[in-house]
């Protein structure tokens, strides 16, 4: 017990009775309002423990008396957000793709929405700005394997490419070397021929006539006369300056002998129709693809 009977001579105040090296501590209590608020906070915290979910139990926790849950709060907030956005997303879902691009407000919404959805779902393969990479098409250019119109882009997003979806794009670059259709020197020859189609330099002494013959027999079916490509089959145009897997001889030889079959998942079912629409508009707006 502290002894309050000890009075300090200088100040006339009582001391706590504690003494260190001859120095005594004055008994200066905390202000009453301070002490009261201190006790109030303690009472408050006890109330808090009871009212809110607080105590961990072995496999769960106390639930509080109001049934409050922050998880439920989040769900409510998300619901409210959907409600706020509801009208706009509804308008987006109702409008045709072409109309969306014509209406500045809808276009802005679709681009904003599309951009976030693209970032979440497409960026891992196509890059955050759709720049693509080897084997993953650049979505900013004007070269489209399966067509670059709004509808065609939408269709590709919905059903994917070789995705297993019933309506997916199919089409295959055969493995001419691995499957033994063409021999090594034939592959080299046709690879050089393909380079010549795009105006790229060819290997010295390569037999263009032979290359043309091999191309006509094996490749024209998909890539078309003169290698102009075929969007029905996703067969790329071989005469332009854009190459998905590289245009150097080695890359072409690899492509011809091993084949190519990139896969893009179908997004139908994973994303709602309005969101897919927004994404199509966004992708189309990246380069205004044809």
């Amino acid at each position: 017990m502290t002894d309050h009977s000890d009075i300090d001579a200088v100040t006339g105040k009582s001391t706590t009775g504690h003494e260190w090296d001859g120095i005594k501590e004055l008994n200066t209590p905390l202000p009453r309002w301070w002490v009261i608020s201190f006790y109030l906070t303690i009472i408050w915290s006890i109330g808090y423990w009871i009212v809110y979910p607080a105590w961990p139990l072995i496999s769960s926790n106390t639930t509080g008396v109001f049934g409050y849950s922050s998880r439920a709060d989040v769900a409510v907030e998300l619901g409210n957000l959907e409600k706020i956005r509801g009208d706009k997303m509804m308008a987006l879902g109702a409008a045709s793709l072409a109309d969306i691009e014509k209406d500045p407000a809808l276009l802005a919404l679709a681009r904003a929405k599309g951009k976030t959805v693209f970032g979440d779902n497409c960026a891992p393969c196509h890059g955050s700005g759709g720049a693509g990479a080897k084997g993953y098409p650049n979505l900013n250019d004007d070269d489209w394997l399966w067509g670059g119109s709004l509808d065609q882009i939408m269709q590709t997003i919905q059903y994917g490419v070789r995705s297993g979806h019933a309506k997916t794009h199919e089409g295959q670059m055969l493995a001419f070397g691995k499957d033994g259709v063409l021999k090594g020197d034939e592959i080299v020859t046709v690879a050089n021929y393909v380079r010549s189609l795009a105006g790229l330099p060819t290997r010295k002494g390569f037999d263009a006539a032979k290359g043309e013959k091999i191309f006509a027999e094996n490749c024209v079916a998909c890539h078309g006369d003169g290698g102009k490509g075929n969007r029905e089959l996703g067969a790329p145009d071989l005469t332009d300056k854009i190459w998905l897997y590289g245009s150097d001889e080695a890359s072409l030889i690899e492509t011809i002998s091993q084949g190519r079959a990139g896969v893009m998942p179908a997004w139908e079912g994973r994303l709602d129709p309005a969101t897919i629409k927004a994404m199509a508009v966004y992708v189309h707006s990246l380069g205004g693809g044809k």
Binding site: S128, G129, N140, D141, K241
Partner: protein, 488 residues
């Protein structure tokens, strides 16, 4: 500071007390006089502006708010009569704050803490609250007596207290109410407030400001000036010997003695002062100090002690202004028998005025010449450049157009830089191939995606500057922005 003065003459020992003492309640007495009249006038003016400004209308045309002063947070606009500011123009507020700070310095170098004494909201509202208190509970003596009385509460006294606090709360509530009116159309908001339709945030703010006004002006009063406000301590560093401060002219006042005694002593040719030690100057002081103790941090220089003492001097037939606004130099000069000097134009005041004029002038200039059409350009980063199937190069930009005017604009965009480049805006069918035209609605921004395509070999450099011109087709107003055109 003054070598000729011994502080002991001016101050009693107990003025060098502890840094913090428990508050002694101040009971300022009512007073009349020049400075009191100035204070009433300024109070009426300041409160009038504060309470009624939101109701002033200003015609900005159809669809735009017609409130003269409006902080429109949801739409990020600030309206001040003919000025409309956008969020990116907050630097005007920075300028305004600088001007305000320097104006405070200027005031300080001329008249000490006249801001504190006459214009500070704390002073104005405290003064108002005192006026109410005085009206209901009576003047200084009565209030002291009522507070001291240990009588059981009489009904009369209780009703007085209730009335006082009700009126205080009413004023406080109106103060908070006026505040929120600056953030919304005032008449509408008033209607919503009385029918309980107003947004929650309005009620919250009114609550906060009601509480702070009531507490600060009703209870904290001079404590705010002495302990909470930093200005008394800062201004001490900014003031100089030429600044006019409320000063007890002790050279004239000492020795203090009664009127009768003074007359006798004067007749004997002895040195006596004019101060009759009536404590009127102390009684009226809202911060509860004795100005005769010399300059003090607590003094807000409201001049009320001047009025009080002037009244006394008139009554006893001595010249006025035993207490008056004076500077440090004159105290010394008068002691040396020299004529007082006053100097308002000096290096300090010239510099402050020049700063105010320069910043103010610059702000007015930029405000008058600011463009109502603006363009910002952001280059795509991923990819920076795209090669098209025919080998040409395309760069994409996000363009933000700002139309700050009150009418829709038809604008044309063209890009200068890459040779033979074409410009395309997503979602816009250009009639002229290289000059897309679009409409930006009034008072809004539009974000566009813009593609610039140039033939492969027309630009040898890896990166060349490109300049975007945005032209208002109708008015010919032009805004430009520069970026780069990059080749892969």
């Amino acid at each position: 500071m003054n070598k000729t003065v011994n502080p002991k003459d001016l101050t009693s020992d107990d003025d060098y007390g502890p840094l913090y003492a428990a508050r002694k309640k101040v009971y300022p007495q009512s007073v009349s006089g020049t400075f009191r009249r100035i204070k009433w006038g300024l109070m009426a003016f300041c409160l009038g502006v504060y309470y009624f400004l939101p109701f002033v209308r200003w015609n900005r045309g159809l669809g735009a708010p017609n409130q003269a002063v409006l902080i429109d947070l949801p739409n990020s606009r600030f309206y001040f009569f003919f000025i409309e500011l956008w969020p990116q123009e907050v630097y005007y507020f920075t300028g305004l704050l600088i001007v305000a700070a320097v104006a405070l310095f200027l005031m300080n170098s001329i008249g000490g803490r006249i801001w504190c004494g006459y214009l500070c909201p704390q002073t104005v509202w405290t003064d108002l609250f005192y006026a109410v208190e005085r009206l209901i509970e009576g003047d200084r003596r009565e209030r002291m007596k009522k507070d001291k009385s240990s009588d059981p509460m009489k009904l009369e006294r209780i009703s007085e207290i209730v009335l006082k606090h009700s009126i205080w709360l009413l004023i406080a509530w109106w103060t908070g109410g006026a505040w929120v009116l600056y953030f919304n159309d005032a008449p509408t908001l008033v209607k919503e407030l009385v029918t309980f339709q107003a947004p929650m945030i309005a009620y919250v703010w009114i609550g906060i400001l009601t509480a702070t006004t009531y507490l600060l002006a009703g209870y904290m009063r001079e404590q705010v000036c002495t302990y909470m406000c930093p200005w008394p301590r800062i201004q001490a560093a900014l003031t100089d010997e030429w600044a006019l401060n409320v000063t007890y002219r002790y050279d004239r006042g000492e020795k203090r003695t009664s009127v009768k005694k003074a007359a006798e002593l004067r007749a004997l040719g002895e040195q006596v002062g004019d101060c009759v030690d009536c404590y009127q100057c102390v009684a009226v002081c809202p911060t509860g100090i004795d100005i005769r103790n010399g300059p003090q941090m607590e003094c807000i220089q409201c001049g009320l002690c001047i009025d009080a003492c002037d009244n006394v001097m008139t009554k006893i037939g001595r010249p006025k202004r035993l207490i008056g606004y004076d500077n440090d130099i004159n105290i010394q000069r008068r002691q040396e028998g020299k004529a007082p000097v006053y100097r308002i134009v000096r290096a300090r005041t010239i510099v402050y005025s020049a700063i105010i004029a320069a910043i103010g002038g610059f702000m007015i200039y930029t405000l008058a010449t600011r463009s109502l059409l603006d363009v910002n350009v952001l280059h795509d980063r991923n990819p920076v450049a795209v090669k098209l199937s025919d080998g040409s190069i395309r760069n994409a930009y996000t363009v933000r157009l700002l139309n700050k005017s009150g009418y829709d604009r038809v604008i044309a965009i063209d890009a200068h830089g890459p040779a033979n480049a074409t410009v395309h805006v997503i979602g816009v069918d250009s009639v002229t191939p290289d000059r897309p035209m679009i409409v930006i609605p009034r008072d809004s921004t539009s974000e566009l995606r813009l593609l610039v395509t140039a033939p492969a070999d027309s630009n040898q450099e890896k990166s060349i500057p490109v300049r975007f011109h945005v032209t208002d087709i109708g008015l010919g107003e032009v805004a430009t922005a520069t970026d780069n055109f990059v080749s892969p």
